[in-house]
C-alpha cells in the first residue's frame, strides 16, 4: 500500500495534495483541520519528523509545515497550514518532540503557540533583544544591539526541591576539548534526579545566512552545520536541490558520494568507540581505535584533499575526480581493517572494568523513542530498526538494499557493540562499491530551477532532514534538523537514576553534535 492510499483511508475523499517532489506528499489544511489531523496522526502511529515555518510561502504570512513519517512507508507526509496571524496551537502535548520546534519557530518568526507547556526562548539567549526575530523576511542580516542579562530575561531552569536535593551547573565551557553547552543536574547524593540541557551557545545563524545565496555557494553552509557530518549534510542539501532541478547525478558520483558517507560513519564511530574507553579510564583500549581513525582521516585526505571530506560534494555531483590510484590504496588498506577492529573490540568489550562501567549505564528506554523521534545508533541500540538508508533510501542506497543492525539493551554497552558492528558494515559497503565502480563523469551540468523539496539522509548520528526552497534561482528558505536536535532530548531521560560521574560516558556513547543542533 502506498502512503497516499493510507491517507485516503484517514482523510476520506477530501484528500487534495499540493504539488510535491517524489516521495513527498504535501497536504494543505486549514488551522482547524490541522488540529484534527494531528490527533489522527498520533492515533495512527505517525512520527513527527520536523516542524518548521516559512514566511511568504505561497501566500503572504506564515506557513507551518509538519513533516511526518510512518514505519513501512518510504514516502514522507507534510501537513501545511497557512496561519491567519502570528498565532498557532501547540501540538507538544500530543507530540512531545514538537516542544523544541515550536520554541524555535517562536524565536525565529515571533509566531506564538497557545497551550504550549514551555515558552522559554530557545536559540536566542539573554543578550538578544526581546522583540528580535531573525528569520523574518523584514530583518536583513546585520548586527543587532546587545541586551543586558537581567532578572526579567533570565533563563529559568526547572527547580527540584526536597531534602538533600542540590543542583550542579556544568558548562557552557567544559573541562576537555568539547563543544559548549550547559547541563543542569538536580542530584540526590550521587544519583541524577533530573537533567536539563540548555544548548544553542554555538548558534551561528546558518539558516538566515543561507537566504539569498546561490545553491552552489550554499553547499559550504551545509558542510559547516556539523564538521563531522560534512558529507551527510552536503549530500542532503545537494539531493534536495537536485530534486528541485530534476538533475540526474552520474552513477560514478553517486557511488563516490556513498563512499564518503560511509567513511564519515567509520571515523565518527571509531571516535565514539575510543571516547567511551577513554571515559572509563582505559586509554590502552582506546588507542587502537584512535590509530584506525587517524588512518581513515589520511585516506579521506588522499581521496578528497580534506580530512573531513569538505569541498568535494556539489550540486550535480562532485567538484573533482579522485586522483589516480587512491581508491586502489583504500581498497588495499581496508583488507586488514576489519581484523584490526575486531581485535580491539574483542578485548575492550569483554574487559571486566569496561563492562562494569558500560553495562546497564545510560539506558535509553524503548518507549521514548517514537514520541521524541530518536534516530540513529541511539535508537538502534534500543531495539528500534530505524535507518534512513533503509526506511527512506536515497542515492545509491536504493540499489544497495542494506540490512541494518540493532541491539536490544539500550545501554552504553549496546551502543558500543552496535557502533563496532556498523563500522564493519560500512567497510563492506565501501568494498562492494569500489568493486562495482562505474566509469565516466562525476558531475552533471546544472540548471537551477525554482521550487521546494525535502531530503533526508542517515548521518553517523541518525536522520538529518533538509528542506530547501529556491526562488528566482536563490535560496529563499533553508531548514535543517539534524539527528542531534531530537536525540539531545533522549539524553535528559537516559541519565536519570545514573550517578553523575557516568554522565560523560553516557554523553560520549551518544556523541551528539552541539554545532549541528545550535546551527
Amino acid at each position: 500500500m502506498t502512503l497516499k492510499e493510507e491517507l485516503k483511508k484517514l482523510f476520506g475523499q477530501k484528500l487534495e495534495l499540493a504539488a510535491g517532489q517524489n516521495n513527498e506528499l504535501y497536504l494543505p489544511l486549514t488551522e482547524a483541520e490541522l488540529q484534527k489531523a494531528i490527533k489522527n496522526m498520533a492515533e495512527n502511529s505517525f512520527e513527527l519528523v520536523s516542524l518548521f515555518c516559512v514566511e511568504n510561502f505561497a501566500e503572504k504570512g506564515f506557513t507551518l509545515f509538519y513533516a511526518f513519517e510512518k514505519s513501512g512507508f518510504e514516502e514522507m507526509l507534510v501537513l501545511q497550514t497557512l496561519l491567519s496571524g502570528n498565532h498557532a496551537v501547540s501540538i507538544a502535548k500530543t507530540f512531545p518532540s514538537a516542544c523544541w520546534y515550536e520554541r524555535e519557530v517562536t524565536d525565529g518568526f515571533g509566531v506564538e503557540f497557545q497551550d504550549a507547556f514551555d515558552t522559554r526562548r530557545l536559540f536566542l539567549h539573554e543578550t538578544y533583544p526581546s522583540d528580535f526575530h531573525p528569520l523574518l523576511k523584514s530583518f536583513k542580516n546585520a548586527k543587532v544591539e546587545t541586551a543586558t542579562p537581567n532578572n526579567q530575561n533570565q533563563y529559568l531552569f526547572k527547580q527540584v526541591e526536597g531534602e538533600g536535593v542540590y543542583q550542579i551547573p556544568v558548562g557552557p565551557v567544559h573541562a576537555g576539548i568539547i563543544e559548549p553547552g550547559h547541563f543542569r543536574f538536580s542530584v540526590i547524593g550521587e544519583t541524577v534526579f533530573n537533567l536539563e540541557v540548555r544548548l544553542f551557545y554555538k548558534h551561528r545563524g546558518l539558516e538566515k545566512l543561507a537566504e539569498g545565496m546561490k545553491p552552489q555557494e550554499c553547499v559550504r553552509i551545509a558542510e559547516s552545520i556539523s564538521g563531522d557530518e560534512t558529507a551527510a549534510n552536503a549530500v542532503a542539501f545537494c539531493t534536495a536541490v537536485e530534486k528541485i532541478c530534476g538533475l540526474v547525478v552520474p552513477k560514478r558520483a553517486l557511488q563516490l558520494r556513498t563512499i564518503w558517507l560511509e567513511l564519515e560513519r567509520i571515523y565518527s564511530h571509531l571516535g565514539d568507540l575510543a571516547g567511551m574507553c577513554v571515559d572509563v579510564a582505559y586509554p590502552v583500549g582506546a588507542s587502537p581505535f584512535f590509530i584506525l581513525r587517524e588512518e581513515i582521516f589520511r585516506q579521506n585526505d588522499a581521496l578528497t584533499s580534506s580530512r573531513f571530506l569538505k569541498g568535494i560534494i556539489t550540486v550535480g555531483g562532485l567538484t573533482k575526480a579522485v586522483p589516480e590510484g587512491v581508491l586502489e590504496n583504500l581498497s588495499l588498506y581496508l583488507l586488514s581493517f576489519s581484523e584490526k577492529l575486531n581485535a580491539a573490540t574483542g578485548i575492550d568489550s569483554t574487559y571486566f572494568s569496561v563492562i562494569d562501567r558500560f553495562e546497564t549505564t545510560g539506558k535509553v528506554k524503548e518507549e521514548i523513542l517514537s514520541p521524541l523521534h530518536i534516530t540513529g545508533p541511539v535508537a538502534r541500540a534500543s531495539g528500534k530498526m530505524t535507518d534512513t538508508r533503509i526506511n527512506h533510501p536515497y542515492g545509491l542506497y536504493t540499489e544497495l538494499k542494506l540490512k541494518g543492525q540493532t541491539q536490544q539493551n539500550g545501554d552504553v554497552l549496546a551502543r558500543f557493540n552496535l557502533k563496532a558492528a556498523e563500522v564493519l558494515d560500512s567497510v563492506k559497503i565501501i568494498q562492494r562499491i569500489i568493486s562495482e565502480l562505474a566509469g565516466g563523469e562525476v558531475s552533471a551540468p546544472c540548471q537551477i530551477k525554482d521550487g521546494y523539496a525535502l531530503s533526508i539522509v542517515e548521518s553517523p548520528r541518525g536522520q538529518n532532514i533538509h528542506w530547501v526552497q529556491i526562488k528566482n534561482g536563490l535560496l529563499d528558505r533553508y531548514k535543517v534538523r539534524t539527528a542531534s536536535f531530537c536525540n539531545w532530548q533522549a539524553m535528559e531521560h537516559a541519565v536519570l537514576g545514573n550517578i553523575v560521574p557516568d554522565f560523560p560516558l553516557i554523553n560520549k556513547s551518544m556523541n551528539l553534535s552541539y554545532a549541528g543542533t545550535d546551527m
Binding site: 557552557p172 554555538k202 545563524g205 564538521g227 569538505k310 554545532a515 545550535d518
Partner: protein
C-alpha cells in the same frame, strides 16, 4: 599473590606501533626544545570553543592520539583556564558565547597568549555577516597568532604553536 607475580612475566598485550613521519619528527624535536626552554618544560593549553563546526576540536583532540601524542613534547591540554598559558580559540565568537568566552580568558593568569585556530576564529570564515556572531576571536581578544584552515590539520597546528613560542622567545609577544 601468585597470580600477581605471574602477571609480571606475561607477554605484553599491547602491540608495537610502527610508523615513520620525518616531517612530524622534525617539528616535534624543535617543539620540545622550545617548550623546555621558553615554558620551563610545560606548555599548558586551554581550548575554548566559541562557535566552531566541531571539526577543529576533533583535530585538536587528535593531537593527543598515538600518531601525534603531543604530551611527549611537554604540551598538554588542561581542564581549567587557571592552569593555562595559552588559550586556543576555535570558531567565530557567537553572541551566545561572548560572556562565557570573556570569563574564561579573565580566569587565566598572566602572562597569557591567545591563538585563533580555524578560519572562523581567524575571521576569514563564512559567518562574518551573520547576526549571530561578533566575528573572529580578535573581536574580543588580543590574538597573538592565527592558524587558518577549514580545519587546519594537527601538523599545521603544531607548526603554529612552534611559531608562537619562537615569537615569544624573541620577545615579540608579551
Amino acid at each position: 599473590m601468585a597470580k600477581a607475580i605471574s602477571n609480571l612475566f606475561k607477554k605484553t598485550v599491547t602491540d608495537s606501533f610502527l610508523f615513520k613521519d620525518s616531517e612530524l619528527e622534525t617539528i616535534s624535536v624543535q617543539l620540545k626544545e622550545k617548550v623546555d626552554k621558553v615554558f620551563g618544560r610545560s606548555l599548558a593549553i586551554r581550548e575554548l570553543d566559541t562557535g566552531s563546526d566541531n571539526s577543529t576540536e576533533i583535530e585538536l583532540n587528535n593531537l593527543s592520539t598515538p600518531y601525534y601524542d603531543v604530551e611527549r613534547f611537554g604540551v598538554s591540554f588542561v581542564a581549567s583556564p587557571r592552569h593555562a598559558d595559552v588559550l586556543i580559540v576555535t570558531g567565530a565568537i557567537t553572541r551566545n558565547m561572548e560572556i562565557a568566552a570573556k570569563k574564561t580568558y579573565d580566569a587565566m593568569p598572566a602572562p597569557k597568549f591567545v591563538v585563533a585556530v580555524g578560519d572562523d576564529a581567524c575571521g576569514c570564515g563564512i559567518l562574518n555577516n551573520s547576526y549571530a556572531v561578533l566575528g573572529g576571536a580578535d573581536k574580543i581578544f588580543k590574538v597573538d597568532l592565527k592558524i587558518p584552515g577549514n580545519p587546519p590539520s594537527p601538523r599545521e597546528i603544531l607548526k603554529g604553536l612552534l611559531a608562537l613560542i619562537n615569537a615569544i622567545e624573541k620577545g615579540q609577544k608579551n
